[in-house]
């Protein structure tokens, strides 16, 4: 399934149906919508002249493709045309007939880590245009004039956005109201049955051979226990549980030790702001130093698989 998904994903990406971007703190409107880039010579050369060029951002490009395909242009035609050309063609065509966006090819922009960018800065005026009833051809169709190109711009309805947001960084309660209103929100919770079915049981033979099968089951149980305690702990809460995918690709005992030592426990450390008493309390219901987590040393970790085993046993033995 993994391979299949990847293959399809790449195929759709290549056809231009899907684009994948990741927001980060310095991601800006110019990259997303449109901006002006400076053309100088090659690296190391000196140039006499500097050229400025208008450049469409990823979102505008995808909107162009979506609108272009909805009014019947093929991929090559769309590539050679500017947004302005396509928008004019759209206006022309929509005079005589209603454009059928419903059966048009869908285009999807995936924005990973959407909350890590400054959303109002990146989206600018677009945030209003995104609403379904303000898209091109909709009842309250709305367009805006873009600041650099002076293009008249609207969002075609066959363009979709899927964003991802990590709630450990920032609770969704703190999200901009403007965004909350316009996006649909779907919660992803840790799903350990998927882990069990799609990895632990599916690859049972292989995992048993490497000696990690039983430990993975114990780890799964332990994480479920830890999560339920995290949910009960008011200062942490359900937004900061530990997901199932930390254990998903683990095939050997040493990988499992790594996952606990370098990923899971540090995450817990972060959630508790390095309060090791609290970590011990979550894991073992007591604040005192345990063998693996100490007030002075922090996360001690596991020297071998037996130690990890007794760590897991201790967590799972508690009610």
């Amino acid at each position: 399934m993994d391979d299949n998904l990847n293959k399809k994903f790449n195929e759709f990406k290549q056809k231009g149906y899907i684009e994948f971007i990741t927001f980060h703190p310095s991601y800006c409107y110019e990259e997303f919508m449109e901006g002006i880039t400076v053309h100088t010579g090659n690296e190391g050369e000196t140039t006499d002249s500097v050229k400025y060029k208008l450049k469409s951002g990823i979102f505008k490009t995808l909107c162009k493709r979506a609108l272009g395909s909805a009014i019947g242009f093929n991929k090559e035609e769309i590539e050679t045309k500017t947004w302005e050309n396509i928008y004019e063609a759209y206006l022309e065509k929509s005079k005589n007939q209603e454009i059928n966006f419903v059966s048009a090819q869908k285009y999807i922009l995936i924005i990973d880590e959407i909350n890590r960018g400054d959303i109002s800065k990146i989206f600018g005026e677009l945030i209003t245009l995104l609403e379904t009833d303000k898209r091109l051809g909709a009842d309250n169709e709305l367009t805006a004039t873009l600041p650099y190109s002076n293009d008249i711009f609207g969002v075609p309805p066959n363009l979709y956005i899927i964003g991802t947001m990590n709630t450990a960084d920032r609770s969704i309660a703190l999200i901009d109201v403007a965004l909350r209103r316009r996006f649909g929100f779907a919660e992803m919770t840790p799903d350990f049955s998927i882990l069990e079915e799609e990895h632990i049981e599916k690859n049972k033979d292989k995992l048993e051979k490497s000696g990690v099968y039983g430990l993975l089951l114990e780890s799964k149980k332990a994480l479920e226990k830890i999560n339920s305690k995290i949910c009960d702990e008011k200062s942490i809460g359900r937004d900061k549980q530990i997901g199932h995918s930390f254990l998903f690709h683990i095939e050997t005992p040493s990988e499992l030790i790594m996952a606990w030592h370098n990923e899971i426990l540090p995450l817990l450390e972060e959630y508790c702001y390095s309060d090791y008493k609290k970590i011990n309390k979550i894991l073992f219901t007591k604040e005192e130093d345990s063998k693996w987590i100490k007030k002075k040393e922090g996360i001690v970790g596991f020297e071998n698989i037996e130690e990890l085993n007794s760590f897991l046993e201790k967590i799972n033995a508690l009610g």
């Binding site: 399934m1 299949n4 998904l5 399809k8 994903f9 759709f12 149906y17 899907i18 994948f20 093929n74 991929k75 059966s103 048009a104 090819q105 869908k106 999807i108 995936i110 990973d112 959407i114 995104l130 379904t132 898209r135 309805p157 363009l159 979709y160 956005i161 899927i162 964003g163 991802t164 947001m165 990590n166 709630t167 450990a168 969704i172 316009r182 996006f183 649909g184 929100f185 779907a186 919660e187 992803m188 919770t189 840790p190 799903d191 998927i194 359900r238 937004d239 900061k240 549980q241 530990i242 997901g243 199932h244 995918s245 930390f246 998903f248 995450l267």
Partner: protein, 212 residues
């Protein structure tokens, strides 16, 4: 919704003559069952689902005492999000997801079903065997054969995982995306958000594919 999805075998009479039409039209129609009691009950239920139930019940003179059991099943026990296996005289013709509430047109009793994977060229004999055991009757619940069927589907590489996925968030999220046009998948670290985003995108486009 489909967390409690039931599985059904649907194989109406008339020698399965009309299957081809149905598969293309993405619906399932039961006819020749004219007795129509429980009208008020249906109507009440439709009211919950639709603003204007009369639009869907074109014949306002529902009367009679008895309902054929299987029609009752079709109306009351089948739910949106359930899975239907299309069975036509020893042939396994498709699998679909029930997409609408029951409604009634002059020609009969209808539900929309989004049929998938209709042209299967693989060896389906094992699946047929199971459907045969579950057999007799126009519409039968086959939940008890679920594990066996699932196993066969996997073994035969029938790419139906998307359809048969138990995870209800899948459908709901796709619906949300159609409705809002933009969604955000949120959750703690390690819950597969990025993976899911890719998966949703691929399936969304696959479902609405339009070849150039």
């Amino acid at each position: 919704m489909s967390n409690n999805a039931k599985w059904w075998k649907i194989s109406p009479a008339r020698g399965g003559k009309d299957w081809d039409d149905w598969l293309q039209g993405k619906y399932c129609l039961l006819y020749n069952w004219e007795e129509k009691p429980y009208y008020s009950k249906i109507k009440k239920d439709l009211k919950k689902n639709y603003k204007n139930p009369d639009e869907f019940l074109k014949e306002p003179d529902f009367k009679g005492e008895k309902w054929p059991l299987q029609l009752k099943t079709f109306v009351w026990d089948v739910n949106e999000g359930d899975i239907a296996f299309a069975y036509k005289q020893g042939e396994f013709v498709g699998v679909g997801k029930v997409e609408s509430y029951y409604y009634n047109e002059t020609k009969g009793h209808l539900r929309n079903i989004d049929w998938k994977e209709i042209k299967l060229n693989l060896d389906k004999t094992e699946i047929i065997k199971i459907l045969n055991i579950a057999a007799a009757g126009t519409i039968k619940n086959i939940d008890i054969y679920r594990n066996e069927l699932m196993k066969l589907i996997k073994e035969n590489n029938l790419n139906l995982t998307y359809l048969l996925m138990e995870n209800s968030t899948f459908d709901e999220t796709i619906d949300l995306l159609s409705q809002k046009s933009q969604i955000i998948l949120y959750g703690p670290p390690g819950t597969g958000k990025t993976y899911k985003a890719r998966e949703f995108a691929v399936n969304f486009i696959k479902n609405h594919i339009k070849e150039d």
